[in-house]
Assembly symmetry: C2
Homo-oligomer: 413 residues x 2
């Protein structure tokens, strides 16, 4: 690819400065009451404390017999202790059973411990009788009893504010009786692609038209972050149509991404033209390759963050990973998580324009600690992006790195 | 927790033997025609080759002017070359433009290159004129032109069989014109919890009842793997009701998980009783803690894998990560991916029953390379599980490890 010299242009904005400006402009989402089925990855805004003990009542850890430990203390293989079985207590039995001294009750795993009982004899230590039972091994007081509150007592903080809810935390909320939880959900992301040249994948095209792929790709990238994401239908190069689309998409999104319509010089840059009308989106040239033309701002009464990503697919993808990904964390008010980093030996030389940070596509081999730049580094070359599993960073002050040099790489998800 | 000695019981099955048996019994899902919106994480069963060139036609990489390079070869700041502008070619213009020698055409990024043109002069190198343009810098032949096929030519394998579709691959399918893709989708997982003691979280309970948490937790764990997952409504301890639930759930699931109803001795072990009737599920005691009582088999005419996990929440969670997680990969016919492993220094001693592999809950600190066992290692202690980010492995032949010893750990997702 040939790149125009940035002569006569404003200075480029450093990558980190731009990212910092983006993150500082984002206000966290409000917490919402979420069902547990929609709480995956949501972030707590306050501590969740136990209101009841966990477990909520003394119960049996095993299938067996509820006894007084003192009454089975002499039990052995040769001289079993035989007790009458008064009743059976299955799990879910809510009757108030009481152990009558000199007898026992059959009891199942998870069942409420009868009043007066102080040990469970596992069925494996007995003959399994139903009217009476021969107990062949003594059980110490407390044996196989799960005590109320031994996991948590009322007032214990089960999950502190700031917790991102994973499966165990969501299970814990359920176990503690919560049907819903107040938390910041993962942001809903809508991706809007603009361009008269765009056709829906799977439909016929003629020369001059291409299949729309950016919103397909970026919606998948958003789902990979755990965010509910959707593509907006393709918007033509028309300022009013785009503004109407943004207005419409705002109603069901917490973050908007556009792709295309932000190149450097054309009157056909519909995204720029439309958003300049709103006046809340700033366009800038970031010192990076790919992905120089960036725009970010907030739109609508809820100040929804909007990113205008470049239209070249590799530029759009790299921009998403570098800027939209941390913005998603910022919307949940957690420390933005960058892509995992590594260092690896280049298997081939790479080049980079002076003054820009390059993010070249590479294949990282963690076994050998090497990274191989893929063929086809131009920003429209999506086929080579699909082969890559890493981005090779070439710093602003470098214009080339030699084979064998150690490069910083970002691992792609 | 007290554990019964396994005296008089059949030998325990080693963890790896059990996992091997599970994986070898799984038949991969059939490939299905998936829309691109539902293709996240699906696995290709055959190569996808390009049918058309990518890009599909020569087009402009920048906003500028389509010219004959030879006609602007002398252009400079002081002596610009001025050419009449015959027409403008926006992106999406499907007319067959032709460059008339001695003139140029305005052209936008992504627009079809006019026949006869061999270079693009970026608008930044000109005065931006619309009737005529002063060009101040020469453009070499090929400048700012993206050639048809420079990313892929027809017949190139874009994505090989076995590719797990991520955002870039899905974008590439769209760019190559595919509206759908034939691939093995992520399996749909349904989780069924059984037990008369179970109440829906958020509803009132009385002593003897507990809030159902396992299906909530395991469905979240399945979604964390990228799988569509749902909880089945709580099933009471009734064999017919459970069989009906399994029959019903099979219609919309590729993998079934039950939780509870598999303890060692009770006639209330409804899951065991129900599935013994089917005869295709094998119950076994695995040499691990937590999670000893396991069951696995296939059910229904489509041979849907079914796991019967123990009812204690920590046992269910650990079993899911150790057995269900790799089974999901096997259903997509890819090499099962275990949890990522690490080695870390124990900050406290741990114990483990002889002959069992223990998976203790710990807090791994990658910075210091240490892992701290959490308090509350019993298999019902979900609050302590929710604090953990790793499982500490104590091997079968060890019964304890000292503070300062190096342990193998599995990182929880």
């Amino acid at each position: 690819m040939t790149t125009a010299a940035p002569s006569g242009q404003a200075a480029l904005e450093p990558v980190d400065t731009y990212l910092g400006a983006v993150l500082s402009a984002i206000r966290p989402l409000a917490a919402r009451e979420l069902s547990l089925a929609e709480a995956d990855g949501a972030v707590l805004t306050s501590d969740v404390a136990a209101e009841w003990p966990l477990p909520p009542f003394d119960n049996s850890a095993m299938d067996g017999y509820a006894v007084l430990a003192a009454e089975v203390a002499t039990a052995s293989q040769d001289a079993p202790v035989t007790l009458p079985v008064r009743d059976a207590v299955p799990a879910g039995d809510t009757r108030a059973h009481r152990l009558v001294p000199g007898s026992c009750l059959r009891i199942m795993t998870g069942a409420l411990l009868p009043a007066g009982a102080d040990a469970i004899v596992p069925v494996e230590w007995t003959d399994g009788g139903t009217d009476q039972v021969a107990i062949r091994q003594p059980a110490a007081a407390g044996n196989a009893i799960k005590r109320a509150g031994d996991d948590a007592v009322p007032g214990d903080v089960l999950l502190p504010a700031g917790t991102r809810l994973g499966p165990a935390a969501i299970g814990l909320l359920a176990a503690a009786g919560h049907g819903t939880v107040l938390a910041r959900p993962r942001p809903r992301i809508t991706v809007i692609s603009t361009g008269n040249e765009l056709a829906e994948p799977g439909t016929p095209v003629v020369p001059g038209q291409i299949w729309e792929s950016n919103s397909v790709m970026l919606a998948a990238a958003a789902r990979q972050l755990g965010c509910p994401a959707r593509r907006y239908p393709i918007v033509p190069d028309d300022t009013d149509a785009l503004l109407a689309a943004i207005e419409d998409a705002m109603a069901a999104a917490d973050l908007l991404v556009t792709s295309g319509g932000v190149s450097m010089g054309g009157e056909h840059d519909v995204v720029k033209a439309a958003l300049r009308r709103l006046g809340t989106v700033r366009f800038t040239k970031v010192a990076m390759q790919p992905g120089m033309p960036q725009g970010f701002g907030v739109v609508g009464e809820h100040a929804i963050p909007l990113f205008t990503l470049p239209g070249n697919p590799v530029s759009a993808f790299v921009s998403f990973q570098l800027f939209v990904r941390p913005a998603v964390d910022a919307l949940q008010d957690v420390e933005p998580k960058r892509l995992p980093g590594a260092r690896a030996v280049l298997t081939a030389p790479v080049r980079s324009p002076a003054g820009k940070r390059s993010f070249l596509r590479g294949i990282l081999d963690p076994e050998s600690g090497t990274v191989r730049p893929v063929l086809g580094q131009a920003s429209h070359q999506l086929a080579s992006l699909a082969k890559a599993n890493a981005l090779i960073i070439v710093k602003e002050r470098s214009t080339e790195m030699a084979e064998g040099e150690i490069a910083d790489v970002l691992e792609l998800p």
